[in-house]
């Protein structure tokens, strides 16, 4: 099947880097905020730089929240985009898309808040295809102050003050709290794994 990758472009996020990261692994990803194009894509990435309340508002204003809920093909939320997949975020006390059960909470104040830098993963479901060739020795770039609970949807956790969900999957819905497009070789592997789903 030919990959028709679409990056959901709804306000102020870091689309250029993600497009280029896809291009580097041979995937021509398009940017769009058109709900009809989301329905037509084989793989959809929901990026996110910003604050949760503002980002959810931008999705709703364009009818993208409904398009994302109706999607049945592989979806990958990245960083804030992953947080928006949940039922609720404490950042701005806002309801998310509700595609994943659970809540996004503020990370502990200690040792540092926010969590910023390169960290490793503790795989929980290492045989999931999204984690193919990714293990405990791989480093990923995180930059976030909020995170989802480490629960049954967690493929890999990371720890900063407390464990949190770093890679999640439930059916066709996936998320990474880190930025694969900023995580050098390990990030490239994760994106390639997503497009192979």
């Amino acid at each position: 099947m030919n990959v028709r990758a679409l990056i959901v472009a709804a306000g102020g996020a870091n689309y250029g880097s993600l497009c280029e990261a896809c291009r580097r692994i041979g995937v021509d990803a398009h940017l769009s905020d058109d709900p009809a194009r989301i329905a037509d894509a084989t793989h959809v990435i929901l990026p996110g730089v910003g604050a949760a309340a503002q980002a959810m508002g931008a999705l709703r204003a364009r009818g993208l929240d409904r398009a994302l809920r109706e999607l049945r093909r592989p979806l990958l939320g990245v960083c804030l985009g992953m947080q928006l997949l949940y039922e609720h975020s404490a950042e701005g006390d806002v309801d998310g898309l509700g595609l994943l059960r659970g809540r996004v909470r503020r990370l502990p104040a200690a040792p540092r808040w926010p969590h910023m830098g390169w960290n490793t993963l503790a795989p929980r479901m290492a045989d999931h295809p999204l984690l193919r060739d990714i293990g405990r020795d791989d480093w990923f770039y995180f930059v976030h102050g909020y995170a989802a609970d480490d629960d049954g949807a967690t493929l890999a956790a990371a720890e900063h003050g407390a464990p949190f969900a770093a890679v999640v999957a439930r059916g066709h819905v996936h998320g990474t709290q880190f930025h694969p497009e900023k995580s050098a070789a390990a990030g490239r592997r994760l994106l390639a794994n997503f497009f192979a789903l």
Partner: protein
């Protein structure tokens, strides 16, 4: 476990990377893309691009080179210089930067920190703070404004630690502490200043100014509890290679991304 970060800082003027001593006498040291690519390949954890022409000349940072950098890099980078509004920050972030760093505009209008944090999240908002380290060694240090051009630099009137606590409360996500006296001098980081700031905030703290040898990096990570160390001249001149530095730090027991 979170790794300590090594951050080459590239001062950009008119699309070229330049370096001066104590912010003066800038000379061209290389092309932005070429250096960015080299540092990423060498294992830099993050890059900072500081547009030294944008801030003093009161013009917005150009986004064309930011887009070029974002296309080339698969590691994070931060853009500093000339960001005075939410719109300025939005242009730079949409062009592919991961974080923006603000300094003098925050001193002039501290609410800018709140506005950026509300719009983009604290994790995007770095506050750069310049201090003339030996100006007063009785434990109170004043923040210097507009240090990008020495003839315009001035005492902001703000006490360093009070300013650190204020930007933390306003929603900053990281602090870069630059010791002006140490900048480009290569005699080591300003430990006393960094210790004081470390005690005043739990925000990620980046040491800047003074790196001249691998030992300086080891010392600042071990003694000052900083999360990252930023340097320019020792990296640009090729005197310290990031890969070698990381091997040195790892052997010293400091967690780094290999």
């Amino acid at each position: 476990m979170l790794a300590r970060r090594l951050i080459p800082c590239l001062d950009v003027a008119d699309g070229a990377v330049v370096k001066g001593v104590r912010f003066r006498d800038h000379r061209v040291v290389g092309d932005v893309i070429e250096l960015a690519r080299r540092y990423a390949a060498d294992g830099a954890d993050e890059l900072v691009f500081y547009d030294i022409t944008a801030s003093p000349e009161r013009r917005r940072v150009g986004v064309a080179w930011v887009e070029r950098v974002a296309r080339e890099l698969d590691i994070p980078f931060c853009v500093a210089g000339g960001i005075r509004s939410v719109a300025d920050a939005e242009a730079v972030l949409a062009a592919g930067a991961d974080k923006v760093s603000i300094n003098s505009p925050a001193l002039a209008r501290p609410a800018l920190v709140d506005e950026l944090a509300a719009r983009f999240g604290s994790q995007c908002v770095v506050v750069g703070i310049d201090v003339d380290a030996q100006a007063d060694d009785h434990g109170t240090w004043r923040v210097v404004a507009d240090s990008g051009k020495p003839e315009q630099a001035s005492d902001s009137g703000r006490d360093l630690l009070a300013w650190v606590r204020e930007v933390d409360a306003r929603g900053a996500g990281e602090i870069v502490l630059n010791a002006i006296r140490n900048d480009g001098v290569r005699s080591g980081y300003a430990h006393m200043l960094l210790d004081a700031v470390r005690a005043a905030t739990d925000l990620p703290l980046v040491a800047s100014g003074g790196a001249g040898a691998v030992e300086h990096f080891g010392e600042v990570f071990e003694r000052c509890g900083v999360d990252a160390a930023l340097a320019a001249s020792v990296f640009h001149a090729g005197e310290i290679r990031i890969g070698d530095l990381k091997r040195y730090l790892a052997a010293r027991g400091i967690v780094v991304r290999p």
